[in-house]
Structure formats: structure tokens, C-alpha cells
Amino acid sequence: MSGVEGYMYPNEVTLYWSVLIVLYPYITGLVAGAFILASLVRVFRVQAVAPTYRLALLTALSFLLVAPLPLQFHLGHPERSPEMYFTPHATSAMAMFGYVYLWYLMAVLVFEIWLDYRREIVLRSQQSKGLLRLVYKVMTLGSNNISERSLHIDEKVGWIVTLVGIPSAFLLHGYVGFIFGSIKANPWWSSPLMPVVFIFSAMVSGIAGVMLLYMALTKLRKQAIDIRCVDTIAMYMFYIFIIDFSLEMLDLVHRIYEADESFRSLNFMVHTKLYFSQIVLQIVVGTLVPLVLLFLTQVVKLAEIARKRIYVLSGSLILISVFAMRWNVVIGGQLFSKSFLGYTTYKVDLVTKEGLLVAIGFIILPLVFLWALVKLLPPWPPQSKHQTASGD
């Protein structure tokens, strides 16, 4: 059989979880990470990163809207998927976390964004014209109360929402790792560290994503990038990345030390089929290089322009690395036989329902949503550059 080496059981020859299933944890990860960045401002009071607060929330929302789409495209009968909500089974991780998704979308993200933007929404509903006016009117939910007191209440409630949002974000993304980590039949996945590793890599990727978006959008608007802000973001990104990397190495070392019956097979795979995506892309190019670069920015006094370039470079590498990590987990877990005697190959389709074009579409789609959201709810303060997120 083409692409098969050694012995595969018949049901292992073709991979059922395609590149779209790689995309799913990647996108939810970006959501969770972006939200954590926002919470830095709101809950942990890191005022330096305030310029990205609203952008982070809008980014999280636009990616969250796209997150379930890869799953829908993967399903043979997507019209049946709502049954998961209608008749949920308590032992179904997918059903339970379906609710977490809804909760996170509506009660956390949309609510927090609404609270934060309420004053602008009300003002715009009075100033804009035509259809836009109607849109803003609907968004006010019919309440024009933007008195000092009501905004103060919003501020308080928003803080609570963010506080609740942090565990929700962890739960939302932790479950993606949980779903893989709990598959005990697959030694590549089955590990209680999986959700934890997923969460930390999610934070890194989300923070990198928002940082890059912030820098790109600011450039597009021909404004000055707030260097204090990106410095701080990069610092957090660096620290969290170190934790993430240590956890992944811990997992690796643990596997090597434990060397259970799957080890020879998995080890072989890492040295052959996954060599490029795991060793080269994920670990060397995507992790060690940005770690060294970010480390330099922390210890050496570099010029502003150099720092910015390093941030852009390492941010991009991190995004690639985390994608590679998802790829290695999802695709890697299906390349070897449960008999440990053979390996198969995954070839990405191009134009099928689960092909490369669709995958690229799902990467672009959130950016389109973000563009629309940014148009509707500009995340920048009108003119003044330094403004705390809570100030409006």
C-alpha cells in the first residue's frame, strides 16, 4: 500500500483527523491566549499593555467565532452536531465543553466587550446615521444610560467577568488538550500533562498573535507603536514560553525515562516522519531561536528598532512553532500503528472539504471578522495615546 511502512491495521492506514483538526486547537489556543493578555490589564493591572486590551478581546472574539467551523467541516453530518446540545450526555467531553464554549462566547467575551464598549456604542448610536445607527441601536439593547454611576458599575462587573473568564479560558482550552490526553489507547496522546501543555502553548501563541496584530495595525494606521507596551508583552511572552517549553521537555523526558512499550515506535517516528515538524520546526526554529532572541532583549540593551524586529521575528516563529506542536500532536498521533510495527503517511488534500485551501480560509476568516469588528468597535482611544482601558 502506498505510504505505509511495516504493518498497519486496516483502519489505521488513512488518517481521519485531518489538518482541520490541527487548526481547531490552534484557533482555540489563540482565543485563550488573547484573553489571558486582556486579563493582564483587567485583573492583574499591568497598565503597560493596556493599548492592546481591546484589540485582544476583539481578536479573541473573532477567532472564537471561527473555532467550531473546522469541526463542522470535518463532520460527515454537521447538521447533527446540535444534538450534542439538545441531548447532552454527561460522559461526553465534547458535549460538556460545548457548553463551556457557549458560556465563554456569550457570558465572558461578548459580555465583557459589550460592557467595555457600552459608552461608545451609546454615543455612536446617537451620532451615526442610516444602517449603522440601527446596528449600534440594537447593540445598546435599548439602554442609553451612560451615567457616571452606571459606567462605574460596568467597570466592577467587567472585572468580575474577567476574573471568571480566566478559568473559563483555561477550561476552554484545557479541554482540547483533555480530549487528546484522555485517549488512553493512543500512547502519543495519553498524558495528563496534555491539557497543561496545551494551555501554556495557547497563552504564548495568543499573546504573540495579539502582539503582532497590534504592531501591524498600528503601522497600518501610521501611528507610533507603544514600545513600552510591546516590551512588556514580549517579557510576559518570554516567561510563559519558558514555562511552556519546560513542561514540554518534562513530558519528553518523562516519556524517554519511562520508555514504555510504545517508546521505540514513537522514538523512531520522531526521528523520521516527524523530524522536520517536531525537531526542526517546533523545537529548534520555533522554540530555541525565539527563546534566545527574547532572552537577548531581556539582558542586552538593544535599540528600539532592533527590539521591534526581534519581537516580530520571534512572534512569527512562535506562531509557527505552536502550529507545528498542534500538528505533531494531532497528525503524529495517527501516523503509527497501535501494533507499533508500522507507520502511515498523511498527505494534505488541496481542494477537498478538509483540504489545505479550506484550512487557509479558516486562518483568514478570523482576520476578516476582526477587520469588521475593528471597524464597528475601534479598539483605539480616539487620539490620546496613553489611556488606561478602564478609563472609558
Partner: protein
């Protein structure tokens, strides 16, 4: 009281939730089958639905009542424990009324390979052959009697069998 007034918009958002929940509940009541949950986490009516499926397999006892000759051959051969319909396919309709349909004879070149193709995943003791090598492309029934496949075990083996086997077509 003014505190409540200033928090009024929050209740509007809450109202959104309540409405969404009501809509959800309404749709749910409409789409979830009535008998869902009657016995367990599934549609209760599914049981009668499934019970009403027409029976497709007759079982070997049925076949043996009419095809006594074949049944006799088979019980003495190596395929004694392979069910008639494992090879012939579901034939309840034929067993109920033989004249209503005449079953097609299975093509042994395809049929036998389904079980006897050599593969590392099969237990060592199971008879398996490398099909291309073993049969030279001939249908297996040329040499083997499907109902008593061990060559020489059954006098009534197809005529061609003894001839071809003797020429060393097989190994």
C-alpha cells in the same frame, strides 16, 4: 433604588440570555424525539424501529433442511463451522420462498481470498495462502470444493481439480 436603575442595562443583557435560553428550550422541545430517554440515553422508539427491520439472514439450519446434500458434505469438511451465509450472503428471502429468487453462485476467486489471503495479523494456525502464487489466477473452486475444501477429502470435488492439482499448478 437609583443603584438598580443604573444597573438596568445589565438586566437587559441578562434578558438576552433568558430569551436565548427560551428559544433553545423551544427548539429542543421540537427537535428531540418524543420517546428520547424513555429507557436510557437514546430514542425509545428506536427499539421497535429496529425490531421491524426485515430479517435478512435465515441461519444455516434453514439452508440445511433443503440442501441436505451440501449440508452433509460441509459438516464433514474443513468449513464445517463456516456458516452458509458467510459465503452466500444473506438469503432469508430465498429460504422463505426458493422460487422467488435464485441465489447467484459466489465467485470463488474473490470470495475465498477474503478469508484466506496471507496476512501477518492472522493467527499462525489459520490456513492462509499467497493468492497470486497459489492459484495462478484460477478460481479457487477449480481445485477446492467450497463446501469441503481440503483436497482429496471429498470424492465429489470438481472434475478439474484433480486434473489441475496433479499437474502441479498449486504448491
Amino acid at each position: 433604588m437609583s443603584g438598580l436603575k443604573d444597573a438596568g442595562h445589565l438586566f437587559r443583557f441578562l434578558g438576552l440570555f433568558v430569551i436565548a435560553f427560551l428559544v433553545f428550550w423551544l427548539i429542543r422541545g421540537y427537535v428531540v424525539p418524543k420517546s428520547f430517554g424513555e429507557y436510557g440515553h437514546y430514542r425509545g422508539a428506536a427499539i421497535t424501529d429496529i425490531a421491524n427491520h426485515p430479517v435478512k439472514f435465515a441461519g444455516h439450519q434453514a439452508c440445511e433442511q433443503c440442501h441436505t446434500d451440501i449440508a452433509d458434505t460441509k459438516t464433514k469438511g474443513a468449513h464445517a463451522h463456516v456458516n452458509c451465509e458467510a459465503c452466500h450472503g444473506a438469503l432469508a428471502q430465498h429460504a422463505n420462498d426458493p422460487t422467488s429468487m435464485t441465489p447467484v453462485k459466489p465467485d470463488s476467486a474473490v470470495l475465498c481470498a477474503r478469508c484466506h489471503t496471507a496476512s501477518a495479523a492472522k493467527p499462525k494456525g489459520f490456513p492462509q495462502v499467497d493468492i497470486a502464487d497459489h492459484s495462478n489466477g484460477l478460481p479457487c473452486a477449480t481445485c477446492h470444493n467450497p463446501h469441503s475444501p481440503v483436497i482429496g477429502s471429498d470424492a465429489k470435488t470438481t472434475d478439474a481439480a484433480s486434473a489441475t492439482a496433479a499437474t502441479g499448478g498449486a504448491k
